[in-house]
């Protein structure tokens, strides 16, 4: 069977050189992307800091380096499209418009957290913002996300569900169970593989067959796929728009493999001995998603240094306020131990 594939072949087979985007952003879009990505970056840096100070416990997985993926995708979606992801979820929540104070207070386990302090870093949700978690079991969000798409199709609306998962999660059997169902039922779901090249300490090349082309796994199910430079927010949005249009037209699922990179360890407790400092440094210097936008803004004179500085300080203020709230908000009342186990019938 010929697979209808929009696969963009890479020239040299190296995963740090995916196809570049030719699509331009308007000045407004560049500034929007800059702002959104910077909010995630600063928020995550602050979370790392609070973790170090003991305010945040447990696991805390930072999204630093991957910001262009969720921000670009969000720019391709419309109000009411659902988002679901793994435990590396702070960026997705902020991009969905969830309150940074509520996110940060959940990280510190306080009553003003988005899950009242009962979910923590890995488990937050917002019906209002159509964000369905935050899931701690690797791969679980993939069938769950297809279920959101199933509900859209069942109700006959034109919403699309976006399910994010990692290169490591791509080895979970349930992912392929889901590809199969999504394909036979033509579910409006976009599978975003955030290929940051590592699953904890395991490089994709060590754990994964055909690691240079994870999206191609969808071809066995007749699902179109593309591999995208996930460090370039324009390329992400452009591919996202193709995927969204495909889903909305009732053509079924779509896979986007986003080539990206996390700068920090897997979680706060990861010494990251499995890769070289040079590798990280090279990505930061040559591919940083925020620096790319910033350079375009300045070169294209879409805003001045001063105007960008003003955005930076606005964002710092938002993050500082969130951190202060998260440190001062009280812990949940002990009575909360026994609430929210059942919805009263």
């Amino acid at each position: 069977m010929a697979v209808k594939s929009a696969y963009i072949a890479r020239k040299n087979g190296k995963s740090d050189k995916p196809a570049p985007s030719n699509s331009g952003f308007t000045a407004e879009e560049e500034l929007h992307a800059y702002r959104e990505m910077l909010l995630i970056r600063r928020f995550e840096e602050k979370a790392g800091q609070l973790y170090g100070m003991g305010f945040i416990g447990g696991f805390c997985h930072l999204y630093i380096g991957q910001e262009a993926v969720v921000v670009g995708m969000q720019m391709a979606q419309k109000q009411g499209d659902q988002v679901i992801t793994s435990y590396r979820d702070h960026g997705h929540m902020l991009a969905c418009g969830m309150d940074p104070k509520g996110v940060m207070a959940e990280l510190t386990g306080r009553r003003g957290g988005l899950s009242k302090g009962k979910g923590g870093s890995m488990h937050m949700f917002s019906r209002e913002k159509h964000f369905f978690g935050g899931h701690g079991i690797v791969g679980a969000q993939v069938p769950l996300g297809a279920g959101l798409a199933f509900a859209n199709k069942y109700r006959g609306n034109d919403h699309v569900a976006v399910a994010y998962f990692g290169d490591g999660a791509a080895n979970q059997g349930q992912v392929y169970e889901t590809f199969n169902m999504a394909s036979i039922w033509k579910l409006p779901v976009i599978f975003i593989i955030e290929n940051n090249r590592y699953a904890m300490g395991t490089a994709a090349t060590r754990s994964t067959a055909m690691a240079e082309q994870l999206g191609a796994r969808g071809s066995a199910f007749g699902i179109p796929f593309e591999q995208i430079d996930g460090m370039d927010v324009r390329a992400v949005r452009e591919a996202g728009e193709r995927a969204v249009a495909h889903c909305r037209a009732g053509e079924g699922p779509y896979i986007l493999e986003m080539m990206t990179y996390r700068y920090r360890g897997h979680s706060m407790s990861d010494p990251a001995k499995y890769r070289s400092k040079e590798e990280v440094q090279k990505m930061r210097e040559e591919h940083d998603p925020i620096e790319q936008v910033k350079a375009r803004i300045l070169n294209g004179k879409m805003a001045s240094e001063d105007e960008l500085k003003r955005i930076d300080s606005e964002i710092r203020a938002i993050v500082t306020e969130a951190a202060e709230f998260a440190q001062n908000d009280p812990e949940p009342d002990a009575s909360e131990l026994y609430t929210d186990i059942y919805v009263n019938a």
């Binding site: 488990h123 369905f132 978690g133 279920g147 199969n180 019938a345």
Partner: protein
């Protein structure tokens, strides 16, 4: 000469209808020839000859209903032959069916049975189907998904006719992909739909247990009350008959362990119907444990589509003052038959059908034990970390001062379910064990 016996065409089949003869007396038959069609409660099946020769006699005419398994239905070869006790298809002789016949529950739960309610006789299968269909008519967001639920009409015919009524948008045949479709259904539940997920049997739910527990049961709590999931996971549970270890497990204790889940395990058709409707309407995830052997049993069920049995309420199936026997699901057969036997010896047992495993209706159990001062708990599942071990602990905690003897338990044996008929029978609890346990706590 070989006689052809009514074959058992499923592990739990006891009788069937001889629908049609495809050969006439005098026809030559060869091994493999289809000679007749038989309708079971699940499907229409073909009977093949295994012997060669002329069909010399038809002993059961076409159209005969309720032909018991192993009844001679025809003779191949010389007509003068006495039907020999040869089996065409090995008869399963299900050990669980060796239990004394069910005392039909004529008294459905009193709390929901206003006097004058009209009753109808229904099998458990029909009751579950009626409950699902009624709820699907009432609420367009309810749908059924699972393997073979649609075109095939259900592996156990529970969903028979539902595809025709509700169409493929709402009766959804899935691939054999329990982990995946359970997760997908939970996602649809997060989005506000009300899925009913059928597991062909609960044994296969182990592939999906991550989504049942980690996704369905825990998300409400982890979301601070925002992200509930109204979903029913249902299907046959526990030992069927002669299907061995991987197909014969009782999951009541497994799911009963989990906060965030509700778990029910009805015995009667009335409870199956009323609890299924309650489960579908419940805003929480409900695990609904059915039993293949009970599917074909008939009970009286209140007529109409407003019959609901509340989750978390036990039912006093028989009143008595000497000993309390607590059970649920198919083990109620043992509990009730033990009560009969005890009654013959002048011992009046009070029998409680838990119906719900989580929440457990402890007040009903405790009240009864306070009256009888003795308690026997009966289940089919493995004995360790089981529903009955929980009951024993709770009764000890809440009724210690009322107990005249330690709580006794009768459960399945602590072994994987064996295949051999005699071993399977030994592995399952039986009514005599319940009688013995009752006598032990009565010191008689």
């Amino acid at each position: 000469m070989p006689s052809i016996l009514m074959p058992a065409l499923s592990p739990t089949m006891e009788e069937g209808k001889l629908a049609k003869w495809l050969k006439q007396v005098g026809d030559m038959v060869k091994p493999g020839d289809v000679i007749a069609e038989i309708e079971t409660d699940k499907a229409t099946m073909e009977v093949e000859a295994v012997d060669e020769g002329p069909l010399s006699a038809i002993l059961v005419p076409a159209g005969t209903e309720h032909v018991k398994v192993n009844t001679p239905i025809a003779v191949i070869g010389a007509a003068d032959a006495v039907p020999a006790p040869k089996t065409e298809v090995p008869k399963p002789a299900p050990a669980t069916l060796a239990a004394p016949p069910v005392v039909t529950q004529s008294a459905p739960p009193e709390e929901a049975n206003p006097t004058g309610t009209e009753m109808e006789t229904m099998t458990v299968r029909e009751a579950i189907r009626a409950a699902m269909s009624e709820e699907m008519r009432r609420d367009p967001e309810v749908f059924l998904m699972g393997e073979e639920v649609g075109q095939y009409q259900g592996a156990y015919k529970i969903s028979q006719g539902m595809l025709e009524e509700f169409g493929p948008q709402r009766i959804i045949d899935t691939p054999i992909t329990e982990h995946g479709f359970a997760g997908l259904a939970v996602g649809a539940g997060f989005a506000g739909l009300k899925p009913i997920v059928e597991f062909m049997t609960f044994n296969f739910s182990m592939q999906a247990i991550d989504h049942i527990i980690n996704s369905a049961a825990k998300t409400l709590y982890m979301s601070g009350g925002q992200m509930g999931c109204s979903i029913v996971f249902r299907g046959p549970n526990g030992a069927a008959a002669r299907v061995a270890a991987q197909h014969s497990q009782d999951y009541a204790a497994w799911y009963g362990h989990i906060p965030g889940l509700k778990v029910v395990m009805p015995y009667t058709a009335a409870d199956a119907k009323g609890l299924m409707k309650a489960a579908i309407r419940d805003p929480n995830p409900v695990v609904f444990l059915e039993n293949e052997i009970l599917y074909g049993k008939s009970f009286e069920v209140p007529k109409g589509d407003d019959w609901i049995v509340p989750i978390g309420k036990a039912r006093i199936a028989r009143t008595g003052r000497h000993v309390t026997i607590v059970s649920f699901g198919i083990s109620m057969i043992l509990a009730l038959s033990a009560a009969e036997k005890l009654a013959a010896e002048g011992i009046e047992a009070e029998v409680i059908d838990l119906r719900s495993i989580r929440p457990l209706d402890l007040p009903t159990v405790i009240e009864s034990v306070k009256k009888t001062n003795r308690c026997v708990c009966v289940e089919e599942g493995f004995p360790q970390f089981s529903v009955t071990s929980e009951l024993a602990a709770q009764v000890m905690t809440h009724a210690f001062d009322y107990l005249d003897a330690p709580v006794a338990r009768v459960a399945g044996k602590d072994v994987p379910m064996p295949y051999a008929a005699n071993l399977e029978k030994l592995a399952l609890p039986n009514a005599d064990e319940v009688v013995a346990a009752a006598k032990a706590v009565l010191y008689v």
